[in-house]
Symmetry: C2
Subunit: 155 residues, 2 copies
DNA sequence: GCGATATGATTGACGCATCAATCAGAAGGG
DNA sequence: CCCTTCTGATTGATGCGTCAATCATATCGC
C-alpha cells in the first residue's frame, strides 16, 4: 500500500513539516526564556511571580481568595500553594484567614510585593514589545492571531 | 509629549498587541504540554528523555561523548549530567569511561533505551502531525516558517 | 443534630532546571 | 619534570511543577 493512500491516522509528518515544527517550538522557547531572563534581571521576579502579582494587583483591594486566584491564572491549587509559600518567605505576599470560610485563605499583596510589581511591569511590557511586537510586521501579528486560533481548539 | 511622539524605546504594547502575545504564549504552552502528556502516556518518556535518546540513536554506534551530546541538543553540561543520572537509574542509558580521555564519559544506548525510543517515535510523530500539522493549512504552515524566521534572530 | 461527603487548602515525594562549587585529569610553560 | 591552568564532568543547593495524600471545615441528607 503506497504512502499516499495509507489511512489518514497513520500518516507521519514530512521532513519539511517536522523542521517547521522544530523551528516553532525552539523559537517560542527562546522567546520565553529571553523574556524571563530580562524580567528576572530587572525586577528579581520570575514569570510566575509576575502572574501572581498581576492578578493580585488587578483586584480592588489587593486581596483575593486563594482558589479564585488559582482559577484566574489557570494553576493547580497545589502549584499555587507551593508558590505562595515561596513568595510569602520573600515578603511579596501575605496569607490571612478568610472571614467567611475558615477553611479558606486570603492572599494579600504586601507593600514589598506591590513595589516589586510596579518596578517590573513597565520594563516587562517594553521587553514584550521589543522581542515580540517589534519583530513582526502588522501582517505577521495578524498571522499570529490566525495561528493561535487554529491551534487553540484542539489541545 | 503625546504618546505618538514618545521615543521609540519607551513605547509600550497596545492592549491588542498584548492580547496577541498572551494568546501566543498560552497556545504554545498548551501545545507543548499536550505533546508531552501524549509522549509520556504512550512511552513513559519525557520530551527531555526523547531528545537524549534521539541524539543517541542517530549516532552510528549508539554511543556518544557526554560533552558532544550536550552541545548537540543544546543543554548545559550540568543539566545533562543530572538527567543522565536519572536515565541511567531507569536503565535507558549507560555510562562508560572514555578510552581517549580518562576525564570523559561515553554515553551508550542500552537495549532498553533503544526499545523505549522505538516505541515512542511513531506515536510521537503522529501526535505532532495531529496537533500541529493537521491543525494548520499549508498557507498557515508557511506563515509559521515566516514567523519563526522573524522572531528567531533577536532573542 | 449527626454522619457522610464535598471542598479549600496544604503537604510530601519526586522529577526537573539552573547556578556555583568541586574534582580529576590533560595540556602547556618554565 | 613540576606547577599552573584549562577542561570534561559531576555534585549540591535551591526553586519550580505535578501527583497523590492529607486535613480541616462546610454542607447536605436524613
Amino acid at each position: 500500500m503506497p504512502p499516499a493512500t495509507r489511512s489518514r491516522s497513520r500518516r507521519l509528518p514530512t521532513k519539511q513539516q517536522l523542521a517547521t515544527w522544530r523551528a516553532f517550538i525552539e523559537t517560542t522557547e527562546q522567546l520565553r526564556s529571553a523574556l524571563a531572563a530580562r524580567l528576572q534581571a530587572e525586577s528579581g521576579l520570575s514569570p510566575s511571580d509576575y502572574a501572581v502579582l498581576l492578578a493580585l494587583h488587578d483586584t480592588d483591594d489587593h486581596r483575593i481568595r486563594s482558589s479564585v486566584l488559582a482559577t484566574r491564572i489557570g494553576w493547580q491549587r497545589s502549584r499555587l500553594s507551593h508558590h505562595l509559600g515561596r513568595m510569602e518567605r520573600r515578603g511579596l505576599i501575605d496569607r490571612q484567614e478568610c472571614s467567611t470560610d475558615s477553611r479558606g485563605a486570603e492572599i494579600v499583596l504586601t507593600p514589598t510585593g506591590d513595589a516589586a510589581f510596579r518596578r517590573a511591569t513597565v520594563p516587562h511590557l517594553r521587553a514584550i514589545r521589543e522581542l515580540f511586537v517589534d519583530a513582526l510586521s502588522p501582517d505577521q501579528l495578524e498571522a499570529v492571531q490566525d495561528l493561535t486560533a487554529a491551534l487553540g481548539g484542539r489541545a
